[in-house]
C-alpha cells in the first residue's frame, strides 16, 4: 500500500535493496543502529531517541565536519512493523505543534518497505507544506543526501 504522492509538493526516494525489510526496519528504529548510518558522511548523527508509538519522540542530533549542529525533535505518527514508519518534524512528541527546528522546511517522512525476493523495495516520501518548502529541501540535496545515508544503511546491515 503506497502513500499518495503529490509531485509538486513531495520528494521521493525509491530503491530496491538487497537486504530484507526486517533489517531496514531495525536500522530505522534502533537508535544504536540509526546513529551509524542516518547522516551522509562526513556528517555524523551523535544522538538518537525513538519512541516507537504514535505520539512518541523522534529526535536526532547531527554534527557537521566544521562543527555545524543539526537535527531536531519530531513526532512518530504511524508504526507498522517492518512495513511503514511515519514521523514528522511539524509536531513535537505528544502531537504538540511546533515551529520548524530541523534545518529544513517542516516535513513529514513516510518510510515504506515491501519484501522483494530476499531484498526490499524501499520508498521514502517526504511531504512539505508548499512548493517553496519542497524546492528548498530539493536544492539542499535531498536525493543525494537521503540516498547516501541509505547506502550507509545497506552497508551497515550487510555485514
Amino acid at each position: 500500500m503506497s502513500v499518495p504522492v503529490d509531485p509538486a509538493l513531495d520528494l521521493v526516494l525509491a530503491r530496491d535493496l538487497s537486504i530484507p525489510p526486517g533489517d531496514v526496519w531495525r536500522a530505522w528504529t534502533d537508535p544504536a543502529l540509526l546513529v551509524e548510518w542516518f547522516t551522509p558522511r562526513p556528517w555524523r548523527t551523535t544522538e538518537a531517541e525513538i519512541e516507537l508509538h504514535p505520539g512518541g519522540m523522534f529526535r536526532t542530533v547531527m554534527a557537521g565536519p566544521e562543527g555545524e549542529v543539526g537535527g531536531g525533535t519530531g513526532c512518530v505518527l504511524e508504526v507498522v512493523p517492518e512495513r511503514r514508519l511515519v514521523w514528522t518534524g511539524a509536531l513535537l512528541p505528544g502531537f504538540r505543534p511546533t515551529v520548524g527546528e530541523f534545518g529544513v522546511p517542516l516535513f513529514t517522512a513516510v518510510i515504506e518497505l515491501e519484501p522483494l525476493g530476499s531484498g526490499t523495495r524501499y520508498t521514502a516520501t517526504v511531504k512539505h507544506a508548499d512548493e517553496e518548502g519542497r524546492r528548498i529541501h530539493d536544492e539542499m540535496g535531498f536525493e543525494a543526501g537521503w540516498g547516501a545515508a541509505l547506502d550507509q544503511l545497506v552497508e551497515l546491515m550487510s555485514h
Copy 2:
C-alpha cells in the same frame, strides 16, 4: 489513560456527562451529527468531513451570524473507538505539514472519554506550540466556546 498536560501550553476542558461514551463518540465522528453541535451558537458548522483513520481528513466549515467564515482542514492522528480521538490543525490530510488555516494558533486536540456509571468523563486537551498560542486561544474564549458546544452535544444526544 490520560494524556500528559503542560499547564503553560495546554488548555483543558473536563466534564462528567450524563450520556454514555458511545453517544459522545458518534457525535464527534459522524459529520451529520457533528454539524449539529460543533460550533457555539449563533455560529453554525455548515460542513464537516471526517476520515476516521490516522492520516485522514478532519475538515469543518463554520459560519458566523454576521457572515464570518471559519473552520479549516486538519488531520486525524489517533482513533481508539469510544475512548480517544486525536486530530491536529498543524497537519493536513496524509500528514502533510501546514501553516495554520483555522482562525486560531495551530493546535492539536485530544478528546478522551471514560465510562462513568451510565455517563461519561469527558476531557478535551488542546496543545499549542508556545505560551503565546495558548494565551490567544484562551482569550478567544476556549473554555466558554468549547463548553457551549459540549452542552449542545449533550443536548443533541439526550433526545
